[in-house]
């Protein structure tokens, strides 16, 4: 296989599928997608890039990656008419993983650019407080506040790669226990969330060595399980 830069767009081809989890990675022009794709492929998934709503059609799981600012990201998602489809996906109980900005966009709003975001998780994205250096760049420990399949086989306090200046804090009030991991850089902040079908990590598992690859593989395994029991998720919401 000799693909150089960029990835195949649209639905997976028939030979790509063959029983593998089909993951759509939302491409809204926010940086490096190669490493996310590589990590998902290494975990046994078939990956396609989603640039328009139709690209989500053949997918079993959705990954929203991205670095950078919330304002331009929301504007680009809006232009691509992807906001409705993403909210619909999440509302239907289908597997979602947000990475870095893809997690921040789940909150109600971001102080960065004073942007209103997707509103899936009650709470705000705010600049890290008390941080000795910003952006928070480098490897830092993630303390797991409870057990979850996402961290299966990964030591509590394992190092993951971060690069960000803002983070979202679940505000509560929606009867869901979002907080899954916390990290300290000056102050402490939420570095991983999970509730039902929605997972999010503030760090970059696709750039976090073997533990990162393990986390991506855990996501693929978890999503495969959920993708095969759609009726359960739907029933749970009803």
């Amino acid at each position: 296989m000799s693909r150089s830069h960029g990835l195949a767009n649209g639905r997976p081809t028939s030979e790509q599928v063959d029983g593998r989890l089909r993951v759509a990675v939302v491409d809204y022009g926010a940086g490096n997608l190669v490493s996310v794709e590589q990590a998902l492929v290494a975990a046994g998934a078939a990956v396609t890039l989603a640039r328009v709503a139709g690209d989500l059609g053949g997918a079993d799981a959705l990954v929203v990656p991205g670095v950078g600012a919330a304002g331009p990201a929301m504007a680009r998602l809006q232009r691509a008419e992807l906001i409705g489809p993403i909210l619909h996906w999440i509302g239907n109980g289908r597997p979602y993983l947000g990475i870095c900005l893809g997690l921040q966009l789940l909150f109600e709003s971001s102080d960065e650019d004073d942007t209103s975001t997707l509103g899936v998780i009650p709470g705000q994205v705010q600049r890290l407080t008390g941080a000795p250096t910003l952006p928070h760049t480098g490897w830092n420990q993630v303390s797991q506040v409870r057990e979850h399949p996402l961290f299966e086989g990964i030591a509590d306090g394992a190092d993951f790669y971060f690069v960000h200046s803002y983070a979202g804090e679940p505000a509560g009030g929606d009867d869901r226990d979002w907080k899954l991991g916390v990290t300290t850089h000056g102050g402490s902040f939420t570095s991983a969330v999970a509730a039902d079908n929605v997972l999010g990590v503030q760090f970059h598992p696709e750039r976090s060595g073997l533990d990162g690859l393990r986390l991506i593989a855990n996501f693929v395994g978890w999503a495969s399980h959920r993708a095969h029991v759609p009726a359960l998720s739907a029933a749970k919401r009803a």
Binding site: S4, G68, R207
Partner: protein, 285 residues
């Protein structure tokens, strides 16, 4: 607690990793993707790949190289060399880089730093500064700029020797003075949108005489973004000094790793022994 990073640097020319002394006398050190993969498995926290040829006609080769390297390592990849526009930065990121480092292009067009940071976020923009010490005997324009002295000022030779050292910014692979004070340019680059600084001492580069700790301290004491120390590493003690005395967040080295004089694990164990938080991977533990 945020770990201090150890970063092997791959200087690439014509698709091969090379290493010189004070930016000249280049020696072939191997294939970039192979070396990057080796370092990733040995516990590197990040890879910096600098295309030191970076001629416009070589862009396709560079992108292919970035793509090839990014597919083999699951740690962050910073790429520098030849990026002069937002569109070129986008190409490099899409090929698989996580960050792009700007050097000569940022000096020539400081607004480029802001445009790139606005488009991709400041965390993706590294400004690389090649700094050369300005000796008091030949007090240069840069030092005069730094101290605000013009036209003779009120200093004599003796006072100059007592003054804190200063450094000037060099561009075009260290061949040309930019007429800027390195510390002032570092501060300005951060204000323009740089999310990280890569500070190379040209005087120390490839000499294995230790990092220029005074240069690092001068810069880390006036910026809040992470600073990567570069140029002069001879052994683990130098990397420790760059962090402890220089205030660097990350230490970059090339020849000591390429030539297997020291392993990444050795360096990290020395840093851990000095009380610095580091990420010890299974291979390095």
């Amino acid at each position: 607690m945020l770990c201090r990073r150890v970063i092997p640097c791959l200087d690439v020319a014509d698709g091969r990793v090379v290493k010189g002394t004070r930016f000249i006398d280049l020696v072939d050190e191997g294939d970039p993707a192979d070396l990057a993969a080796r370092y990733a498995s040995e516990g590197a926290d990040e890879i910096v790949l600098l295309d030191i040829g970076a001629a416009p006609e070589g862009r396709a080769t560079t992108l292919d190289l970035v793509s090839r390297t990014a597919r083999r390592v699951f740690i962050p990849l910073t790429v520098g060399g030849g990026v002069r526009s937002v569109a070129e930065m986008r190409e490099v990121l899409r090929a698989g880089a996580d960050k792009v480092s700007l050097n000569t292009a940022a000096v020539a067009d400081p607004a480029l730093v802001t445009r790139c940071a606005t488009r991709f976020g400041r965390q993706a923009v590294v400004v690389a500064i090649d700094a050369r010490r300005v000796h008091s005997a030949a007090l240069g324009h840069a030092a005069a700029l730094a101290s605000g002295i013009t036209n003779g000022g009120e200093t004599d030779g003796r006072e100059r020797q007592h003054r804190a050292p200063s450094w000037e910014v060099m561009v075009r692979g260290g061949r040309e003075a930019a007429g800027l004070d390195a510390v002032a340019w570092a501060e300005r680059a951060v204000n323009l949108g740089a999310g990280e600084l890569l500070i190379t001492s040209i005087d120390r580069d490839g000499t294995r005489s230790g990092y220029d700790v005074a240069l690092l301290r001068a810069i880390t004491s006036c910026v809040s973004v992470p600073v990567i120390a570069s140029g002069g590493a001879a052994g683990p003690a130098d990397l420790v000094a760059a962090v402890v005395e220089g205030g660097a967040d990350a230490v970059l080295a090339a020849s000591i790793f390429h030539r297997r004089l020291h392993t990444i694990a050795e360096v990290k164990l020395a840093m851990a022994a000095a009380g610095l938080p580091v990420r010890l991977v299974p291979e390095a533990a």
